[in-house]
């Protein structure tokens, strides 16, 4: 479909998605710490209080347990809350409401209850916010049946996927990327532009090696892929966009095509979601097409350091991504 496009930042795309949905459906509302007057810790909800008023853009006390609990409760009673947790790290406090309540209710009430709640939280390092404000914890949520997990890596995806998340009748953990907030991209301004959850995208076509990546690592991967293209290595970049449900088909088909795969994410390597993707590939038909071991490039298994140089060193760099791709290519 051809949409009217406008260049905007990732942050503004999130803002626009929320506004459009709140204009469309009055059951949709936003709540979280400093989302109103202050416009959100990262300025994502700037101007929304003015447009929608205090009833629909609600500042909450500093209690993630309350935010998530109230969100789950409102969702069950028929609202479509968007709740913001200021840093993904603080979802630890919201876990019971999210994991034991929101994720389970539809199942335990035999489908009679719906929990159309979207929990937005910025994840990832790169802002000098140190170990308690820089984590990439998406794998935790992927492990809980009943939750959907979305990690958009571009402004357009952020808009299309957030709208889909808000309209979804299940709890969705929507992981935004702090360092991508200011990144610009072409975004469809059409209100009907929606990206269905569970549908990945080939961000760049290629024939020699598949790189599966999402979120903050995606722009890095794309940059390296473009460079390598000039050197005669054709890299296909696959962005699953939604981790749960996962678009297995797009990944498997790409690996069957190229025979080589590198997986890149920012989260710690041990127990990270790309390990799951590696298993999906190894168990699939794509196994018999592999011409090199599956390679994971992930964050080090360390708390994110405060020191900016060490912070950079804790997650895959462009050089490491490049080296990883070359290794898998036996170059």
């Amino acid at each position: 479909m051809n949409y009217e496009m406008k260049e905007m930042t990732y942050k503004d795309a999130v803002n626009l998605a929320m506004r459009e949905e709140m204009r469309r459906d009055e059951e949709v509302f936003l709540m979280g710490e400093d989302v109103g007057l202050y416009g959100g810790a990262f300025g994502v909800s700037v101007g929304m209080l003015e447009e929608f008023g205090e009833d629909r853009v609600r500042d909450t006390p500093i209690s993630e347990a309350v935010i998530a609990g109230a969100g789950a409760g409102a969702a069950v009673t028929g609202m479509r809350p968007i709740v913001e947790i200021m840093f993904m790290d603080f979802t630890t406090i919201a876990m019971d409401s999210l994991v034991n309540q929101a994720a389970k209710m539809r199942y335990m009430f035999g489908g009679k209850a719906k929990v159309p709640m979207t929990l937005r939280c910025p994840g990832g390092s790169g802002t000098g916010a140190a170990a308690q404000h820089s984590q990439s914890l998406e794998a935790w949520f992927c492990h809980v049946p009943g939750l959907k997990v979305v990690v958009p890596g571009t402004a357009a995806d952020a808009k299309g996927l957030l709208k889909a998340a808000i309209r979804d009748d299940n709890p969705v953990v929507f992981v935004e990327q702090k360092t991508l907030y200011k990144e610009k991209g072409m975004v469809p301004v059409d209100e009907d532009f929606i990206i269905p959850l569970g549908k990945g995208e080939i961000k760049k076509e290629g024939t020699d090696v598949t790189v599966v990546s999402y979120g903050r690592m995606l722009p890095r991967v794309l940059k390296v892929a473009e460079e390598l293209e000039k050197e005669g290595i054709s890299v296909e970049v696959v962005d699953p966009r939604t981790l749960v449900p996962l678009d297995k088909e797009i990944i498997i088909n790409s690996v069957i095509k190229t025979g080589r795969v590198v997986l890149v994410n920012e989260a710690c390597k041990t127990g990270g979601y790309i390990g799951e993707i590696a298993s999906v590939i190894a168990e699939s038909e794509a196994f018999d097409y592999l011409d090199a071991p599956i390679l994971r490039l992930a964050g080090l298994d360390v708390p994110i350091p405060y020191n900016p140089e060490l912070e950079k060193a804790a997650v895959p760099s462009e050089e490491q991504i490049r080296a990883g791709i070359l290794k898998v290519m036996n170059r």
Binding site: F287, D288, Y289, N330
Partner: protein, 446 residues
């Protein structure tokens, strides 16, 4: 279903085996995994287990018979199964059968063959799939990927008519540095076999030349036993490939003898075994080896492999020949543990009750002729070790010390080294270490 019972190929070198005893009679039922018969190979006694459950329908070869490997020696099956006619000798279509047999042996004795890593091919999944689809044997393909891994492109570029080579022949060619492409194949469809490579190396096993038989009176011709043949082959290989030199060092054994005296009763009480000077020398050897990794190295083609453990082979002389059973992980042992391990392996060697595994994997060898009063000798290296230590007799000698004449129990250590791997200085330092340890044996106990 009828299952053949075969003489297993229990080792790379095994050509034939002798049936010692059938544990079951014809008509008797045997469970899978139950011991069916005992055989003696050229080196060890071993038990052969039933591959499947069933009745032992027929015994083709009886106790005492010497049988080539892979020969059918009996049949297992259901009571009313018909036993095939004739004897299951492998001499029909020798070559192709032999190859098949090698396959069978490979599956039967994976463990065995894995130690020389020829049954494993490193190949990517896609390379395997394409090879499978095209019916190509991956053994015939040279891999271009990391560590010789066969990639998709290698299989795609492989031409059907390309050289066919048996894994063993390829392995030997690799070790000996023979270009396999120059070797003419005599096997099935021109396949290059071990014999072809050996021929190319000029190491053709010498066939009997009967016409030149010069029989004199009072001479007796004794055909070589299998063990003898293997010793001959391995020693020649070692002697003719490794440029060796031997270093000798005299050691004052006074303190080691004192140590032995001191701990003898204690160890005897603890273990029921007598500690010998050899045990103390073995202990010193492991300690010294851990400090001098090159003496403990193996040579594999162009690679020197260093080991951070000591698997100590000990030469044990038997009436029929010589075996070098291995004390595994000797570097971890205390003197008491060394005494137990050395005695145990020696006793079982004498009784020929070793598993093939216990004759492999050594990193260094010790050969002692001290008990025969030998003062010096040049032992031949037990390949792929890079050195061997000869231990000689302790004899009282007049030794000048600080201008005085003393009588001391002296012993010479003879270290033969493979000059491809080790230079004289390293060997000399190793012997210095040995001398220090044996002259200050308490240091080994701390």
């Amino acid at each position: 279903m009828i299952t053949e019972v075969i003489m297993p190929k229990a080792g790379m070198d095994m050509q034939e085996g002798t049936i010692v005893k059938w544990m079951k009679k014809e008509g008797e039922y045997v469970e899978q995994g139950e011991v069916l018969l005992e055989i003696i190979t050229d080196k060890v006694n071993m038990e052969v287990e039933a591959e499947t459950s069933g009745y032992l329908l027929k015994i083709l070869r009886n106790a005492g018979e010497k049988v080539p490997v892979i020969t059918t020696i009996g049949y297992l099956g259901e009571k009313d199964d018909k036993v095939p006619e004739g004897e299951g000798t492998p001499d029909i279509a020798e070559d192709s059968k032999k190859e098949e047999n090698e396959e069978v042996a490979k599956t039967l004795y994976k463990e065995e063959i894995r130690t020389v890593s020829i049954d494993k091919v490193r190949a990517t999944p896609v390379a395997r799939r394409i090879a499978r689809e095209k019916g190509i044997d991956l053994f015939n393909i040279k891999g271009s990927g990391p560590k010789g891994r066969i990639q998709k492109i290698d299989v795609e570029n492989y031409k059907e008519n390309e050289l066919k080579v048996t894994p063993l022949a390829r392995r030997i060619a690799e070790i000996e540095g023979v270009d396999i492409n120059t070797v003419a194949g005599s096997g099935l469809a021109g396949k290059v076999t071990k014999e072809d490579v050996m021929k190319a190396l000029g190491k053709e096993e010498i066939k009997e030349t009967k016409e030149e038989k010069v029989e004199e009176e009072n001479t007796k011709v004794i055909p070589m036993s299998n063990m003898r043949k293997i010793i001959a082959q391995r020693m020649s290989e070692s002697y003719f490939t490794a440029p060796t030199f031997t270093l000798n060092m005299e050691v004052d054994m006074e303190k080691s003898l004192e140590l032995r005296k001191e701990v003898k009763d204690h160890i005897l009480k603890e273990t029921g075994k007598k500690v010998t000077i050899t045990d103390i020398v073995l202990l010193a050897t492991t300690k010294a080896l851990m400090k001098h990794p090159y003496v403990n190295a193996s040579l594999d083609g162009d690679n020197i492999i260093l080991h951070d453990y000591v698997n100590l082979a000990v030469a044990v002389g038997l009436d029929e020949g010589l075996l070098t059973p291995v004390i595994k992980n000797a570097h971890k042992m205390t003197l008491t543990e060394m005494v137990i391990a050395a005695k145990d392996i020696q006793e079982r060697t004498m009784k020929m009750k070793l598993s093939p595994d216990e004759l492999q994997g050594s990193t260094f060898t010790v050969s002692s002729l001290g008990m025969f009063g030998i003062s010096h000798f040049n032992p031949i290296i037990n390949q792929p070790n890079s050195a061997i230590l000869g231990v000689n007799a302790i004899t009282e000698k007049v030794v000048p010390i600080d201008g005085e004449i003393k009588i001391k129990p002296m012993m010479t250590l003879s270290l033969t080294l493979d000059h491809r791997v080790i230079d004289g200085v390293i060997g000399a330092k190793f012997l210095q270490e040995m001398k220090y340890l044996l002259e200050n044996p308490m240091t080994m106990l701390i």
